[in-house]
């Protein structure tokens, strides 16, 4: 594991932008700094903002950073700036519950998320940072006949694409997670579950920093506290040359205007506001999603457990905290304030599943903004404004999609063509009426 390798001290990395892989962190480096009190080197450079780039990416979450990383790594496009109005990972990428899986419902979704899981599998080596991917298995509980039918449906779609996914009975559920109440007289009895062994959790901060560090080493610039206030366009149908038929010329920020022929919207919860600046309307509404974490206890929960009917999911971190989540808040808004309704509902539902945790105390709750689409699938690729691309509509499930989205968006930018893997997710599907209905696999289990 990279974290324990005694090789590099995490120092002495190549000059930023020289294209070398950044070195891994090590136990020796940690010990040395513990003894000397010496500061860690900056993880990415802080350079002056230039007046033009080949590509501007708005949003420094996993999607924006992965797109930048793959543009540089796979296509040699390095004159790229990632702009974030706050700090890297300040959006959903630093707030999610870090569940990764590929057992979706549509063939398009399954193929796409499976590619992401493959990229996650080799990420620790690829980015030289320990992303602590724990492939611990993922269980989606069924509490009714109809839920069980959907699980069978999903399992069959999954198997067709070689995804390890099957329906198991309550006894098998209890063997994997003994703390679940499987008694048939429970208010919502567990009738079975969709079991997906390759699913698991990952350290989301490391993924964000890993992509940022990797992109930086290849020459990409990251600019924090740089807010995009407007997108500059010419030739479009709308006011100021925006809108369909026009093309992008750059962005206006709180630090001045920057020109670029390609601007990519990777702003998740803020996606509509950014697209509006280019005159592009999106099928998106913004809704907060809340999560909560308990005090740490001895590790007892080996898998990720999701209950769609009870609107709750739970996993246990390596440190022993239980991490909970649910469905999105029931109305659109741009606030990230937690609510008592959420914790009340959560506690009630989790106790129905695991009566044993009744004495545990919540440590903290938080929320992040989610960009919900009508079919629970993303919106990716080109728009009616030339040079303006979107990678949005990530709802409550976009963290796991970060790597594959970055890879595919980079290919779209480099080749100016929509890659096959994201063909189904283009914006024009809403005009054509060819939606990709993923609700059955994404509404509660993110």
């Amino acid at each position: 594991m990279a974290f324990f390798s005694l090789g590099s001290s995490g120092r002495g990395r190549g000059k930023a932008g020289d294209g070398r892989k950044p070195p891994s962190y090590s136990a020796a480096g940690l010990l040395a700094r513990g003894l000397t009190g010496e500061d860690w080197p900056r993880v990415w450079r802080d350079v002056p903002l230039q007046s033009s780039y080949d590509v501007i990416i708005i949003g420094g979450g996993v999607h924006g950073l992965a797109t930048a990383y793959y543009l540089a790594t796979n296509h040699g496009i390095t004159n790229v700036a990632v702009l974030d109005k706050a700090y890297l990972g300040s959006g959903g990428s630093g707030r999610n519950t870090a569940i990764v899986r590929s057992n979706y419902l549509t063939p398009e979704g399954v193929a796409f998320y499976d590619r992401s899981l493959n990229l996650y599998n080799t990420m620790t080596e690829d980015l030289n940072i320990n992303v602590m991917f724990s492939e611990r298995g993922h269980l989606t509980l069924a509490h009714s006949d109809s839920a069980l039918r959907t699980m069978h449906w999903r399992a069959e779609v999954n198997k067709l694409q070689d995804i390890d996914s099957s329906v198991i009975d309550p006894q098998q559920v209890a063997e994997i997670v003994p703390s679940l109440d499987i008694s048939p007289d429970a208010h919502h009895p567990i009738m079975g579950a969709l079991y997906h062994p390759p699913g698991g959790i990952i350290r989301h901060d490391a993924v964000v920093w890993g992509y940022a560090r990797g992109a930086d080493a290849r020459g990409v610039e990251m600019h924090q506290k740089t807010e995009v206030l407007d997108i500059l366009c010419t030739g479009g149908d709308g006011p100021d040359g925006k809108g369909p038929g026009g093309k992008v010329t750059g962005v206006r920020t709180n630090r001045g205007d920057i020109s670029a022929p390609i601007v990519v919207n990777c702003t998740a919860g803020w996606a509509s506001l950014i697209s509006d600046m280019a005159g592009v309307r999106l099928p998106i509404t913004t809704q907060p999603l809340q999560a909560a974490v308990t005090e740490p206890v001895k590790v007892f929960l080996p898998a990720v457990v999701v209950s769609g009917s009870l609107h709750v999911y739970v996993s246990q971190t390596d440190r022993g905290e239980l991490v909970f989540g649910a469905a999105v808040d029931p109305f659109t808004n741009y606030n990230v304030r937690g609510s008592l309704e959420f914790t009340e509902g959560l506690a009630g539902h989790i106790l129905e599943l695991m009566p044993g945790v009744s004495k545990m105390r919540l440590l903290r709750q938080w929320a992040g903004l989610c960009d919900m689409t009508p079919d629970y699938s993303p919106v990716m690729g080109f728009t009616p404004v030339e040079g303006f691309l979107v990678d949005v509509g990530w709802g409550t499930y976009g963290f796991k999609a970060g790597p594959v989205s970055g890879e595919q968006m980079a290919e779209a930018i480099a080749t100016q063509q929509t890659p096959k893997l994201i063909e189904a997710f283009k914006l024009s599907r809403f005009e054509a009426g060819t939606l990709v209905g993923e609700k059955g696999a994404a509404a509660v289990g993110h």
């Binding site: 803020w270 509509s272 506001l273 509006d276 309307r281 999106l282 099928p283 998106i284 509404t285 913004t286 808040d329 029931p330 109305f331 659109t332 808004n333 741009y334 606030n335 609510s339 008592l340 309704e341 009508p374 809403f430 005009e431 009426g433």
Partner: protein, 90 residues
């Protein structure tokens, strides 16, 4: 979470109502093109600002009405708007 000013029941917790969403103009069924229908169905302004939206009072008076809410601050302003009853979205 949020107190929604129902015109009939007074302030009620948002969990007693259903947020139908941003109010959009319904095209004329006899002349609308498929594209216009889909725009109406799917595309939203999703502003972080004052917005007119439809609510349904599920656990109270069971009426639809329109309200003005600021989606950045969650404040409501003005009484419910005239002509508030909307059809077709049960």
């Amino acid at each position: 979470m949020l107190l929604v000013p129902c015109p009939n029941c007074g302030p009620r917790n948002a969990s007693d109502l259903r947020h139908v969403g941003e109010s959009t103009a319904r095209p004329d069924p006899s002349t609308a093109s498929p594209e216009e229908w889909r725009t109406y169905l799917y595309l939203r302004d999703n502003v972080a600002d004052w917005n007119v939206e439809t609510w349904y009072c599920t656990r109270g008076c069971r009426k639809y009405f329109k309200l003005e809410r600021n989606t950045a601050t969650n404040e409501f302003r003005n009484p419910p708007l005239p002509g508030t009853k909307v059809g077709g979205k049960a």
